[in-house]
Amino acid sequence: MLELRNITAGYDTGTVLHDVTLVVPDNAVVALLGPNGAGKTTLLRVASGLLRSRSGQMILDGVDVTGQQPFQLARRGVCHVPEGRGVFAALSVADNLRLQASARVDRAAVDEAASVFPRLGERRSQRAGTLSGGEQQMLALSHAYVGDPSYVLLDEVSMGLAPKIIDEIFDYLRQLAGQGISQLLVEQYVSRALELADYVYILNRGRITFAGEPQEISSETVLRSYLGALAS
């Protein structure tokens, strides 16, 4: 179980998250929804150790991991697929995959990834920067497979991609969920996210405004949370 307790965090320019508490249970997909600027990405950055929270705790499988470095959390099974394209553009596909996998897997990672995304296998020696946007995202996402994590944090992985590729990516996420890998999913396609999710959080202006199961949430609640802060 990945727990964030009373997290307050932000940047030099101001505080973004105020006292946020969120839980990602084992074998569960948690969707994190909210309008632009709500703090979703910041929350993921805290969860993967990229941003140090100002107060609050992070508990991973019962161990307090507050303030640990990203590479330490990664070794404990947290995998963050960042916003944009999380690949090293200058390296080959194969080298990217080797870095994603743990040192034990190393070279075998390419074949593992190719079993999920055959196109990556075909392009193993190509530079990642020369792949198409969809292929780069698949490469970034294969981290969740070859890295053998327990928790995957996904930040807008469908952004800027063709619907057909998004289908492919959601199939992949469903497959990961089937293997019992927990996911914290930040997604702009709300309905797709709700289909996949076991639990939903709505974040607005740095505070959790809803926590529950997808069935409890009406489309009106979602809409209000995206627009409502202004409308109500």
């Binding site: 101001g14 590479f71 090293f88 200058a90 080298d95």
Partner: protein, 644 residues
């Protein structure tokens, strides 16, 4: 004279060349490695090598240790500890703009150079061989054992590094860390460990090459720094990223220098004779001019943050302070002791030189490490024009005008390349001009100096120190006006746009090529004038005044004097040239260490913003406990009816 030598004649030369080349290759590999993994091109790489040679000398010859122990200690002190310190510096520079990266490593070069000279003196220290010299006969040529060892070391280093990069996971991580350290960290690899390893290996390579070179040329910091610059040529052949090509480059240059030297040794022309030792610079410049720019990828600029804009002042403030300043400048010769006036005059000439540099570096965001080459062209042209009977002012104008085509020449790499490669190209260019042309009849000639008498103007005899001070002051004021006019004009706006974003400027329909050529020409013009005025102080322009090391010191000094177009050059000139007239700064010890102070200040200015970002999380935490102002101001959030 030019007979075709047989293989036997060339054999020993080629062997020496390969052995020299191996040392250059080791050095270049370290340079490429650190640049590739951190995006910081270490101009001080040569100084690191020199430092290692001195430490080696200290332990072996002064402290009488066995050479093996001394070498290991030197490797430990300079390679490992130095490498770790450099890693800290490069980490603080990770998001710094290219100008500041150059300033930091140039500052380190200036500082180390000054420090080593201050401790061990400027003269060359003879250094006995430490590797066995017993010759082996191979194919009719005697080869010393040390040459074999050197070559073997270089090959092992190249193959080892190559395999490490290709095969090992850590090697792959080393190439990834410059691109996106956060992403690397998210993949379970500590970027700090990777960076430390890269800098340690790189510095150890520099250290080894310094120790290997020491017996050959003796221990002298300037020679060692210059010789290591040879490695730049090798790195350029490897396009600053390919390790096997870098190795090949080192060997090619080593052999090239030795064979060319042998072939040309019959010639009587100094220019032709100096072609061989300058081969690496020719190679470097050729790469910068002819290799497609898409192959020269600037590392680590993806994450660059912008320089903080300089504060702007009210026109009244500027006007009043300028008037006060002008008044001060006018009364200086009336109150200062007579023997100090020439130092103040030289200070004014340096202010013009710094202005030319500030225009280029701060206003247009382009880096020049060869400003003194422009100044030298100005000074020597000035001397020739006066000798040819030109009126004094006309000769001065000609000095500036002749420097302009030089500026345009340097602008060629500036059009094609940007950032760090421009800095490297200008660095190479400055040294090339110095070594190929300074002593030619076109410039200072074989007397190393050229007469530049002072003027009689408007019927006044201005050949005295005071008279010449006022001449220089008026001309400096004119140069200020020129700089201000340029800044106010459309060109000035274009230049600031160029510094901010060349792409956006091009998208607005401005021709950035012409803008770049223009600014280099104007800067060279100013530098030419400054150089000529400087020559007038001593009434003879001498080659040593315009040494390339002055260009480097200038950029280091200018860096910590803010980034204002007029004020900064004056402050820089004061610190660099005038400060030494005051008793405290006249002290021999202080004078010896001035380069150290300049270097440290330059590094400090460059890394300071980076240190800030490292500490920011802690500071932010503190501030939050006191209650964040943003928190206090933000509107209370509408809470939804939470269904939990």
């Amino acid at each position: 004279m030019w007979g075709v030598p047989s293989v036997n004649d060339l054999g020993p030369v080629i062997v020496t060349g390969i052995s020299d080349g191996a040392v250059y290759a080791i050095c270049a590999l370290g340079l490429v490695l650190t640049y590739k993994t951190s995006g910081v091109f270490n101009f001080a790489h040569g100084a690191v090598a020199a430092a290692s040679a001195y430490v080696f000398y200290q332990f072996r010859d002064r402290d009488h240790m066995p050479w093996g122990l001394a070498a290991v200690l030197a490797l430990l002190v300079v390679g490992v500890i130095g490498g770790l310190l450099l890693e800290r510096m490069s980490y603080a520079l990770a998001e710094a703009p290219t100008v500041m990266r150059v300033v930091a490593t140039v500052g380190l070069l200036v500082g180390l150079d000054s420090l080593l000279t201050a401790i061990y003196g400027a003269s060359t220290i003879a250094f006995k061989n430490f590797l066995p010299q017993s010759p082996t006969r191979v194919g009719g040529v005697n080869i010393a054992a040390s040459d074999f060892i050197t070559l073997a070391l270089a090959i092992v280093a190249t193959v080892g590094l190559y395999l490490f990069f290709k095969r090992s996971r850590l090697g792959v991580a080393m190439q990834a860390v410059v691109d996106d350290p956060d992403l690397l960290s998210m993949q379970g690899i500590s970027p700090v460990v990777v960076r430390r390893l890269a800098w340690t290996i790189g510095s150890c390579f520099a250290s080894v090459s310094g120790m290997l070179l020491a017996p050959e040329i003796g221990i002298n910091v300037s020679y060692l720094i210059l010789l290591i610059i040879v490695a730049y040529g090798a790195a350029a052949i490897g396009l600053f990223s390919n390790l096997p090509l870098t190795f090949a480059g080192g060997i090619i240059i080593g052999v090239g220098i030795n064979v060319l030297g042998q072939e040309l040794s019959g010639s009587h022309s100094i220019a032709i004779l100096s072609l061989a030792p300058n081969l690496p610079f020719l190679v470097l410049f050729a790469v910068m001019l002819f290799v497609p720019s898409r192959l020269l990828i600037e590392q680590g600029v993806r994450r660059v943050r912008r320089l903080r804009p300089m504060p702007t002042f009210k026109p009244q403030t500027v006007g009043v302070s300028m008037a006060c300043f002008a008044l001060l400048a006018i009364i200086v010769p009336l109150v200062a002791p007579a023997y100090d006036i020439n130092d103040y005059t030289a200070g004014l000439a340096f202010a013009v030189l710094f202005m030319s540099l500030a225009l280029l570096t701060w206003t247009s965001g382009q880096i020049s490490l060869c400003q003194m080459a422009f100044a030298a062209v100005g000074a020597s042209t000035f001397g020739h024009a006066l000798a040819a009977g030109f009126p004094w002012l006309l000769a001065l104008l000609v000095a500036g005008l002749i420097a302009m085509p030089m500026g345009a020449l340097v602008a060629i790499p500036a059009i094609r390349l940007s950032g760090i490669y421009l800095a490297i190209a200008t660095f190479g260019f400055g040294i090339l001009v110095e070594r190929l042309f300074f002593t030619s009849f076109l410039m200072f000639g074989n007397q190393y100096a050229i007469r530049t008498p002072r003027p009689h103007l408007l019927g006044l005899n201005l050949t005295g120190d005071k008279g010449y001070y006022y001449v220089t002051l008026s001309l400096t004021a004119l140069c200020c006006v020129l700089v201000l006019l340029v800044r106010r004009s459309r060109l000035g706006r274009l230049l600031r746009g160029l510094a901010d974003s060349p792409t956006a400027l091009a998208a607005h329909g401005a021709n950035t090529t012409i803008t770049r050529v223009f600014v280099f020409c104007i800067s060279a013009f100013l530098a030419g004038i400054g150089g000529a005025l400087l020559a007038g102080v001593t009434q003879s322009g001498s080659e040593a005044t315009y040494d390339f090391s002055v260009s480097l010191a200038m950029i280091a000094v200018l860096a910590f004097c803010w980034r204002l177009p007029i004020l900064s050059p004056f402050i820089a000139a004061f610190l660099y040239q005038v400060l030494q007239v005051y008793p405290f700064f006249r002290d021999a010890t202080v004078l010896k260490y001035d380069g150290v102070a300049f270097g440290i200040l330059a590094i400090g200015v460059a890394v300071w913003p980076g240190l800030g970002s490292i500490r920011s999380s802690g500071r932010a935490q503190e501030r939050d406990q006191r209650g964040s102002p943003v928190l206090a101001r933000s509107a209370p959030v509408h809470r939804e009816k939470v269904l939990t």
